[in-house]
C-alpha cells in the first residue's frame, strides 16, 4: 500500500534510480517537471486519488449497505416469537401488528427478512384473525412497495419537504388559532383507535371551532343506526357463526365483504366441518340480489332484489310472530304490513320460519351493510324474539365518536365547503373526489376550499386538486392502537421506517393539533398508558408489542336495553311502500379492489373475482333472463359477453359499461362493483374497469330503483380466467346432501372411485429408507421390499387435503400463494390469452338452473401425484419426484418444452411465456420472498407445497436434534402443524390441511382418511397427494 516511487535524488549515497534513459542522462529533468506540474494541475483537494477514491467508495458502500439493512423504525419494536439473539440472514422474523381492514382491526404477523416485510400472516392471538387473513390483506406488502408512492410532499406540482410543510403549517396554524380554528376541517377515515382519538382531542383543544368529519365509501353505519332505532343505543352487532346452527343472511355477505369476514369464515367453518356422518351441520339461508361468496355457500339461496329484501323480512317476521315461542311485540307485528312477495316461494316463509323457530337460541338473522337501518332493527328484534341474543348474537359497544350517518356527515362537510366555511381542509387518507356520492360533488366543493391537503399513499384523484399532497405512511410503516368491536386492544407496530417518508393519519392529526410528542410511537404509548396505568406499564407494553394484542380484560358486554317497540313500529310503518317496479342497480364493493383503495395492486386486480372469475375489470352483472330481455344474444358458454349497456337515473350521471351475465342474479337487478375505473393511480390508472361512483348518489349508496337501461352498440372485451362453468357431468367437485351423506358416507368414492390397482412397477416406499450402512442415502429412491424395521424413522409423506365443505371460494389462498412464491402478474391481455400464473386457482362450477344455480368451488393447485404424468415426459429431468413424494421443479434445469404442462391432467403448471417481471423498480424488488427463486422466462413453474417452508421446518428440526452421551443421535421429527403452506395458512375457513401422512396422529392423516375423501381424476391413476373432501349441503327437507 505504501510503496511509492523513490525520487531520483540519491538517498544514502546509493546510485540514483531511473526509469528511462533520458532520465538517467538528466536526472534533474524529472524534478523540474515535477515542479512545473502543479501549475497545470487541478487543486489537490479535488483530485480523487486512488486512496481517496477507495476511502470514499468504501464509505459509500458501507453507507449504502447500512441504509439498506438498517431501515428499521427508530423506536423499539419487538418480534412476535422465537426471537433469535441476532438477526440472522435467511431466518425471517415475525412481528405482530394490526391493520384496520374493512371496518375493523385485524391482527397480523408479518414475516420480515432483514427488516424487510415480505409476507402477511394472521395473528392467532387476535380475535378478528385467529391466524388467518384474506386476499386483500395478503396484498399489503405489494401496497407497501408500490413504486408509484410519491417520496416527498408536493405543493402543487412542486416537490417539497416535510420541513416545508411544517414551516407552512406553523404560519397557517397561528392564523387559524387566532380564529379559534374556524375554517379548519378534517376529513378522516372511520377508525376506532384510542391513539387517534387523543390526537383528535388535541386538535379540538387547539382549534375548538375545527370541524371533524368521517367518510368511507362503504359505510357500516346502518347496522349501528338500526341498533339505535331498536335499542336507543348505537350498538354493534356481533354474530358468532360457529354457534349459530341456522343462519339467515339478508343481503349480507358475511363470508365475503362484511366486517369480520375472516372471523366469520373461521367460525362458520366450524359447523360445516364434518368428521363423520353423525356430525351435525349448520344450515345457511341467503337472500340476496347478486351471487356473493356467502350466496355460493348457502344451502338455500333466494334471489331477490336488494330493495325487496325488506319485504321478505317483513313477511317472514309476520310468519314468525305467529309461531309458538316467538314473541314479537304486537305493535311491531302490526307495522309489518303485508308486503307483496308473490314471487317468493312459500317454502321460504314456512320452511325457513319453522327451521328458525325449531332452532331458537341457536340461530341468527343477519343483515348486510346495504340495507336501511329499519331492516337491521327488525332483524335485531327477530333475534331477540328467537332468543338468539346472548348466544350467537351479541351486541357490543360501538365507537363513541362515530357519526350516525357518514353520508350525512360528508354532506354537512361539502355544504360547509361550498358555503366558504372551510378554508383549510385536511383529507386524511381516503379518496373522496373519486368515491364520494356524485350528488355531493365533492370535487366541485373542493374548488371553494382555498387550501386543501391530502394525506395519501398515492397521488390520486383527490390529491390533484389539493394544494398539498402529503405522503401517507403505509399501515406497515405506522404505529397505531386499535380497538376491536369486542373491545380487544391491539397494537400496530411498524415493520419498516416509512419508505417514502410518510406520516400516518394520527401523526399528522397530532402534528396539526400541536401535540409536542406527535410521533406515532409516543401517541400510542400515551394512549395505552392512559388505559393501562403507569404501574408496570413498560413490561405490559413490551408484552403487548410482542403479542400484538394488549393483555387487558375486555370490557363487559353492555347490557341490552329493552326493544323500543314504538320507535321500531313507527319506522317500519312509515316506510311501508309499494313494490318497486322496473330496473334496479345495486352497488357492491369489489372482492378485488374493495372500494378502489387497492386499485393499483396487480395482485388483487388480477385475482379472479371469486364469483365471476373476472380479472382486470368490473362489469354490470345481470341475470340471464334480464340479458335476454335486453335483447342480448349472449353466448351461453361465455358469460363474459362483451356487450355494453347504458344506465341512467334521475340525479345521477349516466353510465356505460359492459355486461356480465351472472347466473343466480335477481332479474331486473344490475349489480355494479365499486372501486374500478380509477383515473389517477399511476400504473394501473388506465382502462382498468369502469368507475360506477358517478352513478351512486347519497340517497342510494347501496341500491337504487327507477333505473333506465338500454343496450348500446359496441363491444368491450372482458377477461375471465374460467370460461367454462359446467362440470360436463364429470365427478370433479363432488357434493352430496347431508341425507345422502348419511346414507352413503363414501359418496365421493362412489362417484369417483380411487382405483386400487397399482402400476406394474414397484413404487417408492416412503416409510423405509435404507440405512446409510447399506448404501442408502437420504435421497435414496430405491424401493426396499423388506418390511420396515420397527424402529426405522419414518420418512415424511407430505399430503394436502381440501375440505370442499368449508372452502368458501374467497380466493385468499390465491393471493397468499402469489405473495409467498413470487408469482408474477401478467396483465389483462395475457390473461385473455390464458397465461395467468397463479399456482393456486379456485375453480367454480355451476349446477342446475341458471336462475338458481348450485355453485361448487374447488381450489386446484399441483396435486403432487405419486405417478406424476409430468415427470415421465420431461426430457431433461427438470421435474422429478422427491423422496418425500413432492413433485419438484428444478428451474435451472428446465428448458421449457411445456410437455409437462400438456400432460398434466389438472392443468396446474404455469409457463413463463414472457419475462413477466420485466424491469422492476427497486421498491418492487423488495416484496420478493428471498427463499423462493424468481423464475426467468422460458421455465415452467407450479405449486411446490411451499417447499421452502418444509425446508425451514426441516432445518429447525435438525437443529433441535439431540446427541446423547453415547453418541446416539435422536432426530426430532417435524411436528404436525410446524410446516404450513402459504395457502393453508391464509385460508380463513381452515379448509386446507397440510402435513405428514406418515404421522398417524396428524390432522392431515385424519382428514385424508375421512369417508368423504376422494382424489381428483382418480381414474387416471395419478395417485395425487392432494385429496379432497366432498361438499356436504344441508338443505331443509321442507324446502327441497
Amino acid at each position: 500500500m505504501s510503496k511509492r516511487l523513490p525520487t531520483s535524488t540519491p538517498v544514502d549515497g546509493r546510485p540514483p534510480l531511473w526509469r528511462s534513459l533520458g532520465e538517467k542522462r538528466d536526472p534533474a529533468k524529472r524534478d523540474r517537471e515535477a515542479v512545473a506540474e502543479p501549475a497545470v494541475q487541478v487543486p489537490e483537494r479535488s483530485v480523487l486519488g486512488r486512496r481517496r477514491f477507495m476511502a470514499i467508495s468504501g464509505a459509500t458502500a458501507a453507507a449504502i449497505g447500512l441504509s439498506g439493512c438498517m431501515r428499521r423504525p427508530e423506536e423499539h419494536i419487538l418480534p412476535y416469537s422465537r426471537a433469535p439473539e441476532y438477526v440472522l440472514p435467511g431466518i425471517p422474523l415475525h412481528y405482530a401488528t394490526t391493520v384496520h381492514h374493512r371496518g375493523e382491526p385485524v391482527g397480523l404477523l408479518v414475516e420480515t427478512h432483514g427488516a424487510r416485510p415480505t409476507k402477511i400472516e394472521g395473528n392467532p392471538d387476535h380475535p378478528a384473525s385467529g391466524g388467518r387473513t384474506d386476499a386483500q390483506l395478503q396484498a399489503l406488502t405489494e401496497e407497501l412497495y408500490d413504486p408509484d408512492r410519491p417520496a416527498t410532499p408536493l405543493r402543487g406540482d412542486e416537490r417539497a419537504s416535510w420541513a416545508d410543510f411544517d414551516a407552512w403549517w406553523r404560519e397557517k396554524a397561528a392564523e387559524l388559532e387566532a380564529r379559534g380554528g374556524q375554517g379548519l376541517a378534517v376529513l378522516a377515515q372511520p377508525l376506532d383507535s384510542p391513539a387517534m382519538r387523543r390526537a383528535r382531542e388535541a386538535l379540538q383543544r387547539r382549534f375548538p371551532q375545527a370541524r371533524y368529519h368521517l367518510w368511507s365509501p362503504v359505510p357500516y353505519t346502518n347496522a349501528r343506526q338500526g341498533a339505535r332505532l331498536a335499542f336507543g343505543q348505537p350498538l354493534a352487532v356481533q354474530i358468532d357463526f360457529g354457534a349459530a346452527q341456522r343462519v339467515l343472511a339478508l343481503d349480507c355477505d358475511f363470508l365475503g365483504l362484511e366486517p369480520g369476514a375472516i372471523r366469520n369464515q373461521r367460525r362458520w367453518a366450524t359447523q360445516r366441518r364434518l368428521l363423520g356422518p353423525r356430525d351435525e351441520v349448520g344450515r345457511l339461508y341467503a337472500v340476496e340480489g347478486t351471487l356473493s361468496v356467502t350466496g355460493l355457500n348457502a344451502d338455500h339461496r333466494l334471489r331477490l332484489a336488494p330493495s325487496r329484501v325488506e319485504d321478505y323480512l317483513r313477511a317472514l317476521a309476520t310468519r314468525l310472530s305467529r309461531a309458538e315461542g316467538v314473541t314479537l311485540p304486537d305493535s311491531v307485528t302490526a307495522a309489518l304490513g303485508e308486503p307483496e312477495i308473490s314471487d317468493v316461494p312459500p317454502s321460504w316463509l314456512d320452511g325457513a320460519a319453522e327451521d328458525l323457530v325449531a332452532h331458537r337460541g341457536r340461530s341468527a338473522v343477519c343483515v348486510g351493510w346495504s340495507q336501511p337501518p329499519r331492516v337491521h332493527a327488525l332483524a335485531y328484534a327477530l333475534n331477540v324474539a328467537l332468543g338468539n341474543v346472548g348466544r350467537a348474537v351479541r351486541f357490543v359497544a360501538s365507537p363513541a365518536d362515530e357519526p350516525s350517518s357518514q353520508v350525512e356527515d360528508l354532506r354537512a362537510l361539502t355544504t360547509a365547503m361550498r358555503e366558504g366555511e372551510v378554508d383549510t381542509l385536511f383529507i386524511l387518507g381516503g379518496n373522496p373526489v373519486y368515491d364520494a356520492p356524485s350528488d355531493l360533488d365533492f370535487r366541485g366543493a373542493l374548488e371553494h376550499v382555498p387550501t386543501a391537503l391530502h394525506l395519501s399513499l398515492l397521488r390520486d384523484e383527490t390529491s390533484l386538486p389539493c394544494e398539498w399532497f402529503l405522503p401517507r405512511a403505509h399501515p406497515l410503516e405506522s404505529w397505531g392502537l386499535h380497538r376491536g368491536p369486542d373491545g380487544t386492544l391491539s397494537i400496530q407496530q411498524p415493520l419498516i421506517a416509512p419508505l417514502r417518508g410518510g406520516r400516518s393519519d394520527q401523526e399528522l392529526l397530532a402534528r396539526i393539533g400541536g401535540v409536542r410528542a406527535w410521533r406515532g410511537y409516543d401517541l400510542v404509548r400515551a394512549a395505552l398508558q392512559e388505559r393501562l396505568g403507569a404501574e408496570g406499564f413498560e413490561r405490559r407494553w413490551r408484552q403487548s408489542l410482542h403479542r400484538g394484542v394488549v393483555d387487558a380484560p375486555t370490557p363487559p358486554l353492555p347490557s341490552l336495553p329493552a326493544l323500543r317497540e314504538a320507535d321500531l313500529a313507527s319506522a317500519l310503518g312509515e316506510a311501508r311502500r309499494a313494490r318497486p317496479e322496473g330496473w334496479e342497480v345495486a352497488f357492491i364493493p369489489s372482492y378485488q379492489v374493495f372500494d378502489g383503495r387497492f386499485a393499483n395492486l396487480p395482485w388483487l386486480v388480477e385475482m379472479p373475482d371469486p364469483v365471476t372469475k373476472l380479472v382486470w375489470d368490473n362489469a354490470a352483472y345481470v341475470s340471464p333472463a334480464s340479458a335476454r330481455e335486453l335483447g342480448m344474444d349472449f353466448d351461453e358458454d361465455e358469460p363474459s359477453t362483451p356487450r355494453l349497456i347504458e344506465l341512467s337515473r334521475e340525479g345521477a350521471t349516466s353510465l356505460t359499461l359492459p355486461v356480465y351475465v351472472l347466473p343466480g342474479q335477481a332479474d331486473h337487478v344490475i349489480t355494479l362493483p365499486l372501486g374500478w375505473g380509477r383515473r389517477h393511480v399511476s400504473r394501473l390508472g388506465h382502462d382498468v374497469g369502469f368507475d360506477v361512483y358517478p352513478f351512486r348518489t347519497s340517497d342510494a349508496l347501496s341500491f337504487a330503483t327507477g333505473v333506465q337501461v338500454r343496450t348500446v352498440a359496441g363491444e368491450y372485451p372482458l377477461v375471465v380466467t374460467q370460461s367454462h362453468h359446467s362440470m360436463e357431468g364429470r365427478p370433479l367437485a363432488i357434493d352430496a346432501t347431508l341425507a345422502e351423506y348419511r346414507e352413503t358416507p363414501a359418496f365421493a368414492q362412489w362417484r369417483n372411485p380411487t382405483p386400487h390397482v397399482g402400476p406394474l412397477w414397484t413404487q417408492v416406499n416412503y416409510s423405509t429408507p435404507r440405512p446409510p450402512a447399506e448404501g442408502g442415502t437420504s435421497y435414496d429412491l430405491t424401493p426396499d421390499p423388506r418390511p420396515p424395521a420397527p424402529d426405522a424413522p419414518a420418512r415424511y409423506k407430505w399430503g394436502f387435503v381440501v375440505d370442499l365443505s368449508t372452502c368458501t371460494g374467497c380466493s385468499a389462498c390465491v393471493v397468499a400463494c402469489q405473495a409467498e412464491n413470487n408469482v408474477p402478474t401478467v396483465g389483462k391481455r395475457q390473461v385473455a390469452l390464458g397465461r395467468e400464473m397463479h399456482w393456486m386457482r379456485v375453480d367454480r362450477y355451476y349446477q342446475g338452473e341458471e336462475t338458481e344455480p348450485r355453485v361448487l368451488v374447488q381450489p386446484v393447485a399441483c396435486q403432487h401425484c405419486e405417478e406424476a404424468p409430468c415427470e415421465n415426459v420431461c426430457p431433461v429431468n427438470a421435474t422429478v419426484h422427491s423422496p418425500e413424494g413432492l413433485n419438484d421443479m428444478a428451474y435451472n434445469r428446465c428448458i421449457g418444452t411445456r410437455y409437462c404442462m400438456n400432460n398434466c391432467p389438472y392443468k396446474v403448471r404455469r409457463f413463463n411465456f414472457l419475462d413477466w417481471h420485466g424491469d422492476l423498480h427497486p421498491l418492487e424488488k423488495m416484496k420478493f420472498n428471498p427463499n423462493v427463486t424468481v423464475r426467468m422466462r422460458g421455465v415452467m413453474e407450479k405449486c411446490t407445497y411451499c417447499v421452502q417452508r418444509i425446508q425451514r421446518g426441516r432445518i429447525q428440526a435438525r437443529a433441535e436434534r439431540r446427541v446423547l452421551d453415547t453418541g446416539e443421535v435422536i432426530e426430532r421429527r417435524i411436528r404436525d402443524g410446524e410446516v404450513v403452506p402459504s395457502c393453508a395458512q391464509a385460508c380463513p375457513s381452515e379448509a386446507i390441511v397440510f402435513g405428514d401422512l406418515n404421522d398417524v396422529g396428524s390432522d392431515v392423516h385424519r382428514m385424508a382418511h375421512l369417508d368423504r375423501q376422494y382424489e381428483l381424476l382418480a381414474s387416471i391413476g395419478t395417485q395425487p397427494r392432494t385429496t379432497y373432501l366432498g361438499r356436504i349441503w344441508n338443505p331443509n327437507p321442507e324446502m327441497v
Binding site: H724, E728, L732, R835, N872, C874, I895, M901, D915, I1020
Partner: protein, 470 residues
Amino acid sequence: MAQAEVAPELGEEPLVSRGTSFGEITDIVSRVTERRAPRGWRILFALSATFTAILGITIGILVWTGIGIWGNNSPVGWAWDITNFVWWIGIGHAGTLISAVLYLFRQYWRTAINRFAEAMTIFAVICALMFPTIHTGRPWFIYYSLPIPNSMNVWPNFKSPLLWDVFAVSTYFTVSLIFWYVGLIPDFATLRDRSSRRIRRTIYGFLALGWRGSHRHWNNYERAYLILAALSTPLVLSVHSVVSFDFATSVEPGWHTTIFPPYFVAGAVFSGFAMVMTLLLIARAVYGLHDLVRLRHLELMNKIILTTGTLVGYAYAMEFFIAWYSGNPYERFAFLNRAFGPYAWAYWTMIACNVISPQLFWFRRLRRSISVMFVVSIIVNIGMWFERFVIIVTSLHRDYLPSAWGMFSPTLFDILTFAGSLGLFFTAFLLFLRWIPMIAIAEVKMVVPEADPHHPGGHPLSAGGARGSD
C-alpha cells in the same frame, strides 16, 4: 443408340421414354446444374430466400422475447410449433420410404423420384428439427436434452418420449443423409467428368470421393447401398412411431391412443408422397424431365397416396370407434369435441383433404391428370397439417377439467415461423435442384431397356457401362 422395339413386360409402360439413350439421360439431368439457372428458378429462389430471412428474424425475436410471441398458452402448451414439427417430419418420411423400402422391394420405378424424395427428406427433417429446438422456453439450453456426461451427473430423462424423439429424428437424419450422399457419389463423378471449369471439377471431384466407376467401386457401392437401405427401412417405421409416442404415451384424452404409431406412419407416407408429387410436378415442368419422370411414375405414386389416404381415413374412424367403445367419458368427449367443438372446422377440413380428396384417384383418368394430381397433392399436405393441428390443439384445449379449458389462436409470429420454415425448405430445395443431379442418373440408366444385357439393342457390357460416367 439402337431404336429396337422391346415388348413391354406384361403391358407395363417402360420407365423411361423409349429411345432415350444413356447419353441423353446424362445430358437431361446434368445440364440443369451446368447451365445458367432459368428465370423461374431465380424468381422462386429470391422468394424463398426472403422467407428464410423472415424465419431468421422471427427466430431472433423469439429467442430474445420468448415463446409468448406465439399464441401458445395454458392449456394449449403446444400449438403450431409441434404441429409444424410433426408435419415436416411426416413429409420427410417419403424419402426413406421411396429410397429404401421400394429399393428392397425392387420397385424400379422409384429411380425417377428417389433422389428428389431423399433431398426433400433431408430438408424437411432440417425444418422439423428446428421446431423442437426453438419451441423450448430456453433454447440456449437445448443441449440438456443430449446425454452429455457432466460433473453433476445429471442425465436426460430416458423415459421421456421427447428424448426418444431426439434420438429417433437425429438417427433418421444421419442415416438419410448418408444414404442420400452414397447414392450421389456416381452422379457427382459424372458431373466432375463433364466439368470444364477447374473449380467445378475440384468441388464435384471432392464430393465424388475418387469414384472411377470401376467394378470394385460398383461392387462396394451396391453393397453399401443395400446395407443402408436395410438400415433405413426400420427407421421408416420407427421415426414416426416415436414421434407419435409424444402423444400416445401421454394421459391426455385424444392423445392416449394405441393406434397412433401405425396411423402416424401411414399419415407420414401420405404427406411425404404428396409433397414429392408437388415438387416433382413443378421440377418436371420447369426442367422438362418428361422422359425420365413419366406419367406411369406419377400414377404409381397416386396409388400410394390413395392407399395411405384411405388408411388414414380408417384410423380416423377407428379412433372414434374406440372412443365410443372404451366407455371413457373423457375420451368420448375429446372426439365429439373434435368433430363438433369450436375447432370442428379444422377437423372437417382435415377429413375433406385427407380422406375425401384422395378418393379421386380411384378413377384412372383423374389419377393420370397432371392438374388433378397437383391440386390433390397440395390439398393432402394442407390436410395433413390440419391433422396434426387437430390432434394437438383440439385435444389440449379441452381436456379433463372444464375449468381449465381454453382456446388457441395463432399470432402473426406463428404464421411467420411456419411460412419461414417453408422458405427455408424451398431455399434448400432450390439449391439442390441447381447444383446436385436431381434425378439419380446412374440408377435411371439401370432401368432403361438397353441396360438389360439380354436386350437386343443393348450391348452385353452396356449394363456396366450404363451406370458409370460415359
